[in-house]
Each structure stands twice: as structure tokens, then as C-alpha cells.
């Protein structure tokens, strides 16, 4: 069987050559072509599993003098043109935009982790920053992840796809006793396994996962969500996950190991989390005392427990990621742009909303915000009065 092809289109092909050995050396086994736009042929488009297009294509003189309808302004435009040419292919390749200036694509969106919204806006599977210093996964590994997902999806697609084999074969769901609940959770997120997938030969499933599942708390949850449910700090949890403890092994049992499992940090199956909580507490998952004792006895290091009683995850305004564990009465619900209705509610700290006009616009219920603000004002007044006395 031939190895999958990654086609990289760059107006300065030499600049991308560094990635060739990184891709070639990966155990996945891929072929790489790095070409100037003028050198791309039909055979490349007909065989590539992933097409990577550079955002800025400045050095392309053949475009000069073209009539407007033939002028390809940049990589976004080229990606759209290429998409139209591969749309009848079966399977379709994934198309990725590669950029060193993400801020030029993001518009008013926050810089970090907005790739999925930008990708969605520009009708591509992913946006890959060229200098991804903030991430601990290299550019090459991300491309490999995408190739692997495309190849696996192609196999699945050719055998006939449905929610059950999507969950077992592509998402890596095993035979755990919580499988039925996990599949139910997957169904609720409307995976496009029917007509839409048929029309796009499966690539819609890539987008569903990268744009609608991975960035949000749905049937998969991240370490922040796990920490909130367990009542521990995220920092302690991350540290504990690097240790060899009974607690860590229990969490490993429901860690997500399907497609893109390292693409954007670790994830765990929500259904597995429920099962874990029930087992840890003998069927009383909300009994914090039993839960704490259970964590304490199975962890490597002394747990750092939260003092919150009804913890929710609040959005960090800088990243627009849910990375603050706060008490529910310090926060209100918001609807960030593009937030799926099937994902857990998004929350923002009242304090952040007061300081950030963008966040304030996202509040679901203004009266809820007013009520909470009044409660806070009263609390602050009481505190002030106590100090005065």
C-alpha cells in the first residue's frame, strides 16, 4: 500500500524543507511534496491526503497581469480554488492553511486556540501556525495527526460508516461498561455520518471533530473539567498525571486515545468520568468527603483540594478557553460565538465581565447579570460596613 502524501504549497519552497525529514522520519510513514503553486499538477491533487497551503503567497509572479477572476490573492483563495478541484475526489483530502501571522487571519478573535474558529470561517480543516511556540506539539506532529485521521477515516468510510463504528474505530472507544453512555453522548453532538458525510466523502467528520468537538466540553472533557469534577486544582492534577499512582492509572482507563488524541492536549471520555466518580464514591459521586478520601488514598502526592462548592469553569478572557475554576455564584453563563448548543454551558466571572466589554456582550440573560451584580454589591457593602465597625 502506498504511503499517504502530504502536499505543501509554499511560494518559497526552500523555507519549508526543514519539515521534510521530520515528516519522513515519523513512524506513520508519509510522502512529502513541497511545491511552489506554479508547480502543482493534477496528479498531486488527485493523490494528496493532506494539502497544506501557505497563507501569504507573495512570490508568485505568474499572477501579475491576470484578469481579476484568475487572480489568486493568497493562500486562502488558493485553498478555495483547490477545494473546488478536489471536491469530487473520493476520498477528499484535508486542506490546511499554514501561517506565521495568525493575527492577520483572526480579526478580532483572541490569538490563542482560535484556530478552529478561523478554520471554520475560511472553510478549511485547520489553521497551522508556522511558529507554534505556545504549543508542545510540533508542526510536523500535527500534520501527521491530520494525515493519520484522514487515512483512518478513508478506511472507515469505504467500509460504511455509522455512529457505532465511528465511535469504536475512529474515536477509539473500547468495550468498557460505560460504552453505551459514551455513544449516546456522541450521538447528541450530531456527527455527520449520513448525508453530509456522503457528499464530502467523510471530510465533514474531520471538521465536526476539529471544529465542534475538540475545542469544547462535549463527550470529551479536558483536565480542567476533570479537576472541577474532582474538586482539585488543575495544577495538582497535571502534576499527578505525571506520576505512577493508582489514581493516575484509574484516570488512564478512560483517557481518550482515538483520532487527534494529542492534537490539543489530553482528553477523557465524559462517560468514563461518570463511571470513575461512581466507583470512587461507591455510588455517591457528589459526596465530596468520600471523594476526597478516595483521591487522597490513591494519589501519589497530597491533593490540593478546591474550596469551591459548586465549581464551574469560567472563560479566561485572554484565551477564550475555560481555564478558571470558580464558584457558580461568582459567574454567569455566556454564549461565545460559535459555542455549540450541545456543549456544556460557558461561564464568565462577574469581575471579568465588568472589565471586558466583549465578554459582557456574550451574557445570556442581562437580568441574571443585574441580579448577580446586586448580590455582589450588597456583599461588598456588608463587608465594608463590618470593616467600618
Amino acid at each position: 500500500m502506498s504511503r499517504p502524501l502530504i502536499l505543501i504549497i509554499d511560494d518559497e519552497p526552500d523555507r519549508s524543507e526543514f519539515i521534510r525529514p521530520l515528516l519522513h522520519s515519523h513512524k506513520q510513514g508519509v510522502e512529502v511534496e513541497i511545491l511552489h503553486p506554479r508547480d502543482v499538477k493534477d496528479m498531486h491533487l488527485s493523490t494528496a491526503s493532506v494539502i497544506v497551503v501557505d497563507h501569504y503567497l507573495d512570490d508568485w509572479e505568474e499572477r501579475d497581469g491576470q484578469i481579476p477572476s484568475l487572480r489568486i490573492k493568497d493562500g486562502i483563495a488558493l485553498a478555495a480554488a483547490l477545494r473546488s478541484q478536489v471536491s469530487e475526489r473520493n476520498p477528499q483530502p484535508a486542506i490546511v492553511i499554514r501561517t506565521a501571522r495568525l493575527e492577520d487571519l483572526r480579526g478580532v478573535l483572541p490569538i490563542r486556540t482560535s484556530q478552529h474558529l478561523i478554520a471554520w470561517q475560511h472553510d478549511v480543516e485547520w489553521i497551522l501556525p508556522r511558529a507554534n511556540l505556545q504549543s508542545d506539539i510540533s508542526e510536523a506532529e500535527r500534520l501527521i495527526d491530520i494525515v493519520k485521521a484522514v487515512v483512518d477515516l478513508t478506511t472507515l468510510w469505504s467500509n460504511g460508516i455509522n455512529v457505532n463504528n465511528l465511535a469504536s474505530d475512529w474515536l477509539g472507544l473500547g468495550q468498557q461498561n460505560w460504552v453505551d453512555v459514551a455513544v449516546e453522548h456522541v450521538v447528541k453532538t450530531h456527527p455527520p455520518v449520513h448525508l453530509v458525510a456522503k457528499r464530502t466523502h467523510g471530510t465533514s467528520i474531520l471538521r465536526w471533530f476539529l471544529h465542534r468537538i475538540l475545542p469544547y466540553p462535549t463527550f470529551l472533557v479536558d483536565e480542567w473539567k476533570i479537576a472541577a469534577h474532582l474538586g482539585v486544582t488543575q495544577a495538582w492534577l497535571v502534576e499527578e498525571l505525571s506520576k505512577n499512582s493508582k489514581f493516575r492509572h484509574r484516570l488512564d482507563e478512560f483517557q481518550y486515545k482515538g483520532a487527534f488524541n494529542k492534537f490539543d492536549g489530553r482528553r477523557w471520555w465524559r462517560a468514563g468520568l461518570s463511571n470513575f466518580l461512581n466507583k470512587m464514591t461507591n455510588g455517591k459521586p457528589f459526596d465530596s468527603e468520600i471523594l476526597r478520601k478516595s483521591i487522597h488514598f490513591s494519589a501519589y502526592s497530597s491533593p490540593d483540594f478546591l474550596s469551591n462548592f459548586q465549581p464551574v469553569l469560567a472563560i479566561n478572557p485572554e484565551s477564550m478557553q475555560s481555564t478558571k475554576i470558580v464558584n457558580v455564584d461568582e459567574a454567569v453563563r455566556i454564549i461565545p460565538d460559535g459555542w455549540p448548543t450541545f456543549a456544556d454551558d460557558a461561564w464568565a466571572l462577574l469581575k471579568d465581565i465588568e472589565e471586558d466589554k466583549y465578554l459582557a456582550q456574550l451574557v445570556i440573560d442581562r437580568h441574571d447579570l443585574d441580579n448577580r451584580s446586586e448580590d455582589r454589591s450588597e456583599s461588598i457593602n456588608e463587608i465594608n460596613q463590618q470593616h467600618e465597625h
Binding site: W178, N275, F286, R366, H367, N371
Partner: protein, 242 residues
Amino acid sequence: MDEVRIMKELAAPFLQEGSLDILDNLYAQLETLSGPLKWQVDPNRPIITRDCGGGYERGKKGGQKVHAELCLIWELRPVGRRRGRTLQVEVGGKASTVTWLYLTGSRSSKIAHWRMELGDSQSPGSYFHVQIPETLDNSHSDTTISRSGIMWPRWLPVPRIPVLPFTPMLSLEYVLAEIFQDEWPEYINKRSSDPSVGQWRNIQMNRLKRYFEWQKELVDSGSVSPLITLKQAKPEPGLFLN
């Protein structure tokens, strides 16, 4: 409203298809409430569970196929103005949720029913109570009762058996827990980290805590008969409000 929305999501696998539309309709009635409302499910089109497959006994050892049907009428009226999604309401008349149990396959084979209600201001109590409405019973061996043929006759309003503060949705959860003795708790436990389960738990926990605190205050009140005190007590308006 949150109760209806959450229960629709949680109870979906246990209900017949058409019942989800009924829950949608209940939600919509509250959403648009602006004056007195008969918030109701028509007895001719009740919420219907699926057959419990003998699940009314542990281990699904019940030998019969049974399902439940539920209807309700709660006469509500708004208190004050709607503020965003929040509107306070009070019960201004009837508040009754009726549950029937049937042998599945025959709608005429009604085998049990009960009514969960709130008492009115004139009621001798208990305020939150269940009544077993009039039935025909030929099975009792006592000759006096079998001669009359009627158990729980309409003219006899007692007993009003005290119960927890059952909203219609909690009544639905109750009947699911009764006829799906194993399946319902197992189903809920498997979804403990689902937001809807957490929300449902919070709503019920807050309400029940307030109820039990009120009950404890009554018992501690120093009356001669705590039972009579409990039986006759009526909650202050706003007991369950934030």
C-alpha cells in the same frame, strides 16, 4: 422551566416518542406565561412511559408488563413582572399531578393510580400530600368492604398522606424510579458528570433542603403534637424561592 427542560433530556429514553412533544408544550406554556395559566397535560393525551418490562421489582422480576401515564393541572399565576428568563409564579388554585399504572397492551387495564397535590388555604393538611382516588375493588376479603365494592370512595377526602414537595417533573421522576427500580438509578448514576444531571440534582437538593429545614422548624416549635403541627402547617410564600 429548567425542570421541564432537564427532565425532557433525562427521561427521553424512558418515555414514548409523543411524550417529548408534551414536555415541549409544557415548557412553552411557562415560557409565554404572562397571566393566570392552567398549566396542564390533558388526561386524553398524557405523558406515557415505555413498558418497564417487569422493572417495578428489583432485578426486573416483576412478571407483568406495566407502564405509567401522567397528567397534571396546576393553576398558576405570575407574581410581579418577568425579568429576563426569571418569573416568579404562585399556585392560585388546583395543583394536582395524577399518575396511572397500566398493564401494557391494554389501555383499559388500569391497575393503580394516585394523585399528588398541594392543599389549598382551607385544607386541613397535609399541605403536600398524595391521595388514592376512588377505585372499584372486589378483591378484599373483608365482607363489609366487599359488599360496598368501593375503596377510597369519593366522599372520603382522607387520608391525605404527607409526601415531599412534588412538582410535576419530580412526580415523573418518582414514577420512573418506581417502575424502573434498577434501571432509573443506574441510568442517572452513569451520567453523573453530565451537566443535566448536575442541574437536576441542584434544583431538587435546594428545594428539599428548604423543605426539611422548614419541617425541622415546625418540629422544634414546641407544640403539643409535632405530628399535628406538621400536618396543619402551610409553607410561607417564597419558601422555595431564591
